[in-house]
Symmetry: C2
Subunit: 147 residues, 2 copies
């Protein structure tokens, strides 16, 4: 995952080679205080953390998976019940569960023919609540359009 952003672009990366020329006013260097820039560079999240962060958030960034995790947050469910509860095909549900399981967000337990799934991460619910708080607050002030 996130492999594309590693392979691509870098078109403007060469512009950075001209840096460290002092607090110039041109944009081929930095506009802000160079010392602050240095501080910023060091303060940024490490690349591996960036990718890991994006990975979990991406997992939560799909309506279907939000429904799955929300349903499981109320307790264990078998695939079939879960699928019906969120009105999704069994196959699609299974595919999503596999993805979530690979990310260690859910855990499976076999019981006869059925497989039960549970949340495998206590942070998820916290993230959900925090996200909901954002949503509820943002609902007050209407969003701008893109175009």
């Amino acid at each position: 995952m996130s492999s594309r952003s590693d392979v691509r672009a870098r078109t403007k990366a060469s512009a950075r080679t001209a840096a460290a020329a002092g607090p110039a006013e041109a944009c081929d260097v930095f506009h802000i205080d160079p010392s602050r820039v240095a501080g910023l560079r060091g303060a940024l999240i490490t690349p591996s953390s960036v990718d890991a962060l994006a990975e979990i958030f991406r997992a939560l960034g799909d309506p279907t998976r939000v429904r799955v995790l929300d349903a499981l947050s109320h307790g264990e469910l078998c695939v079939c019940d879960l699928a019906q509860l969120i009105d999704l095909s069994q196959s699609a549900t299974s595919h999503q569960l596999r993805l979530l399981r690979a990310l260690r967000l859910v855990r499976s337990r076999r019981a006869g023919r059925m497989v039960f799934y549970t949340l495998d991460d206590r942070h998820i619910v916290t993230l959900f609540r925090q996200g909901l708080r954002h949503v509820e607050e943002a609902a007050v002030r209407p969003r701008r359009r893109l175009a």
Copy 2:
């Protein structure tokens, strides 16, 4: 956003019409206690909240945007400096900022020819920290492969 999941699928939705046939053992109904199912249905997040939640998490679910927001979490930056800081083309940076602005995650301020961006949501940093906590914890136990 999330328009696709509204338009698509629903292939198995008809299976639900056979529900409410009692606590059967077959999977065309629910396996679990019907009363609990009823409770679950009511406890689930509303569709609009689901979409809204997925929307913010999706915004955070991209390495580039994580970098943008992380950089801005340390203070105001103009587009050019931001682009250099995260090693992204000016155009790509601008596109991402537009998206984040539409979602009210960042705010812009014009100063002459330059435009400065700031975080517009105090929850974002909280979400980041929470996400990082998850990442750091998950780093201990290795992930399973998909195939």
